[in-house]
């Protein structure tokens, strides 16, 4: 946002759009934070991938970090605790590291936050850790004054080894795009629970650690899995744009094949929000060589978190960098989100 200052010059300020996972955020990172990076043997900051990968002998050490602020902290299907564990486990998994060695956890709490809520968040973190087969190995706690923070913020980092790295730039024309299940559930569950919307329904966040599901896909697909990313902020649209831009291909998305829960579709329709651009916290998008697509799809569907996995698109040579949505009734370009559909949902 730009606004006048007494001197007359415009003061540039950070807006919510700068954290929304879309174009504005990417520009901010590129302009402000990329200079912090440097040459590394592997995947560093400049790659803007889900995490870093540093070569250690014949393996890769994968490292990632993620901060979590969500309003409300408890939402249908999960809470900020489950979110913080799943988010970091998933970022590691998206790079091929499905057996994390450990996580770190830093918690910042606002003065006056109910202790019972903190315990509930801890319990939920413990449950998510058990599902992912990981533990927290170190942490940090801070308390801020009332009004200096909105409830609670959680940061987790994760690390582990993998022998094969999966990046997000590996698509070639002809490759298939798979999603591991229904899209839009987390974003719409959180949005509809926000005080001011007052929409009721059976919506539930999909937040879950995906390392088991991803392991099954990688075991089945091996080197044929050429791109992988979790569609968090910005949703499926944002991931497909990154795939398309980084690999310089077009992506043709077959709208009717994208799985969407009926409740999520209905809420999205009422709110005028496209499920393709809202956050997921328990889904992955995979780019797979065509000959392995059936094999990987079967492996995904054989896992409890992947029952509704589907092939939803194809990489094409035309329109590099663009995502073309076939709606079944016609076609259009699918835009990446500019800012926040509504603020702070993950």
């Amino acid at each position: 946002m730009t606004s006048g200052s007494p001197g007359g010059a415009a003061v540039e300020r950070i807006g919510l759009k700068h954290g929304a996972g879309g174009r504005a955020m990417r520009r901010l990172i590129e302009e402000l934070f990329l200079p912090l990076g440097g040459p590394v043997d592997g995947v560093g900051l400049a790659a803007m991938d889900d995490g870093a990968a540093l070569r250690v002998g014949d393996r890769w050490l994968v490292v990632t970090t993620d901060s979590h602020v969500v309003q409300p902290p408890f939402f249908p299907g999960g809470d900020i605790g489950r979110l913080s564990i799943s988010g970091t486990v998933n970022d590691l998994a998206m790079m091929g590291c499905t057996e994390p060695l450990g996580l770190t956890c830093a918690v910042i709490v606002e003065e006056g936050f109910p202790r019972a809520d903190l315990a509930r968040i801890r319990d939920s973190m413990a449950a998510a850790c058990a599902e992912a087969g990981v533990t927290v190995v170190t942490g940090d706690t801070k308390v801020m004054g009332k009004g200096e923070l909105d409830g609670i913020a959680l940061n987790t980092a994760g690390f582990g080894f993998t022998r094969r790295l999966v990046r997000d730039d590996g698509l070639r024309p002809g490759d298939r795009i798979l999603v591991t299940g229904t899209v839009g559930d987390h974003g719409l569950a959180v949005l509809t629970r926000r005080r001011d919307l007052r929409i009721e329904g059976a919506l539930s966040s999909d937040v879950a650690p995906l390392n088991g599901l991803v392991r099954a896909a990688l075991d089945a697909g091996g080197d044929a899995v050429v791109a992988m990313k979790d569609p968090t902020r910005g949703g499926l649209a944002s991931v497909l744009h990154e795939f398309a831009e980084k690999a310089k291909v077009g992506v043709l998305l077959d709208g009717p094949s994208v799985p969407v829960n009926a409740e999520t579709a209905a809420a999205a329709e009422i709110l005028g929000i496209d499920p393709l651009v809202v956050a997921n916290e328990g889904k992955a998008v995979l780019g797979v060589r065509p000959e392995a697509a059936d094999r990987v799809l079967a492996a995904l569907r054989g896992h409890p978190l992947g029952r509704r996995a589907a092939v939803v698109g194809t990489a094409v040579a035309e329109r590099p960098g663009d995502v073309i949505l076939d709606t079944g009734l016609g076609r259009r370009l699918l835009a990446e989100v500019e800012g926040e559909p509504l603020p702070r949902i993950c």
Partner: protein, 379 residues
């Protein structure tokens, strides 16, 4: 079949029926033997067309033009400045989300909010009334935008009783008046109009009969599902080809001849039409909805002395001078003809009003990739 598949089976989105309608539409346009230009005057229609990619299904000789169909886009700069001035003077201004980014002469309501002004996004007028009840010590002003559909809601809230600290700054607009203005534009080649199904739900379809007779252009009332749009276009092109300036209701599941009587009664009890400036269009005779004098107590314009000069109401804006929104809303230019489109003017920093609202022509072109021909991709 599970619930999600059933939801997708909505008959108004059935691909096979859509294809059949698109083919019939192509035959109808071919039978006309020349390009046909029609206009819709409703942002929701453009959204349906864009969202479902219907332009890729239209015959190439059918030009479906976006008219001045977005109430946010046609809200004029002085109206925004009034709201900005009220907020700057300490009132709590409640409004719909899109209105926040609507550019005023020097500032938007969003800018005022960022500077600490009391500006709140609401989803309904009722919510604004509740805010006024919860804050009896504050002046709460509802900056009301929208066509007759939303004006009815504002009227109902006022008739239902509002607390003494609540008032309305009306930027409500009246759709039938806009069609008259567009039809009278000198170089217009529009041969027929799609009328907005939701507005017609309130006004009824008969209101368009004098317009069709006077202009010689048929009017078809259309709903907002893909098949509604295709079926209405088919009917409209047929009427154009047969030179029949009639009104046809293709949205009978919602729209009647006489409209929603109780809603209309409420509307006219509270509002009256007055001439008004629509951003980018012109002075529209009978285009604005103003609170009747008997409601002076809830009319922010009568209650407060609003001085827009204090918020840059007279400032000159170089970018705004280059903006083509006016010509775009008059269907004389496409968004891609504008040198600011996608460059200086983007959804996060709109110059013109058409880039503000999700119903705005430029915003829709920006979000949905304009109108590139994507039929052959991946074939």
């Amino acid at each position: 079949m599970d619930a999600a598949d059933q939801a997708r089976e909505l008959k108004f989105r059935d691909p096979a029926r859509a294809r059949a309608l698109a083919e019939a539409l192509a035959r109808e346009v071919a039978a006309a033997g020349r390009p046909v230009e029609v206009m819709h005057v409703c942002g929701t229609h453009e959204q349906a067309i864009a969202r479902f990619g219907l332009r890729a299904a239209f015959p190439r000789d059918l030009h479906v033009i976006m008219g001045p169909g977005c109430p946010v886009c046609v809200t004029d700069t002085p109206e925004v400045d009034e709201a900005v001035a009220l907020a700057a003077a300490g009132a709590r201004v409640c409004t719909y989300g899109d209105m926040l980014r609507l550019p005023g002469a020097s500032r938007s309501l969003g800018d005022v909010q960022g500077e600490g002004g009391k500006v709140e996004v609401v989803y309904s007028v009722t919510q604004a009334v509740e805010i006024a009840r919860a804050r009896p010590a504050e002046d709460v002003v509802f900056f009301a935008s929208g066509f007759e559909t939303t004006a009815v809601a504002t009227a109902a809230a006022i008739l239902g009783g509002v607390p003494p600290n609540f008032s309305v700054l009306s930027a409500h607009k009246y759709v039938p008046a806009a069609m008259e203005v567009v039809a009278r534009l000198e170089d217009t080649k529009i041969e027929g109009y799609l009328a907005a199904g939701h507005a017609a739900t309130i006004t009824g379809w008969e209101i368009f009969v004098p317009f069709a007779r006077a202009t010689g252009s048929p009017v078809v009332v259309a709903g907002f599902e893909p098949l509604d749009v295709l079926a209405a276009l088919l009917e409209l092109v047929r009427l154009v080809r047969e030179e029949r300036p009639e009104v046809v209701n293709c949205y009978p599941r919602c729209v009647t001849r006489e409209g929603n009587r109780p809603a209309l009664e409420k509307l006219w009890k509270v509002f009256r039409v007055v001439d008004g400036d629509w951003r980018g269009i012109a002075r529209v005779p009978s285009g604005n909805l103003e609170l009747r004098p008997e409601w002076a107590a809830v009319d922010a314009r009568r209650r407060f002395r609003i001085d827009t000069a204090l918020v840059g109401g007279t400032a000159k804006n170089e970018l705004a001078d280059r903006c083509l929104c006016g010509l775009i809303m008059q269907a004389r230019k496409d968004p891609s003809d504008c040198e600011l489109f996608g460059k200086e003017c983007r959804p996060e920093a709109p110059v013109g009003a058409c880039m503000v609202s999700s119903e705005g022509a430029c915003r829709i072109w920006h979000a949905y990739g304009g109108a590139p021909d994507l039929r052959g991709v991946g074939a």
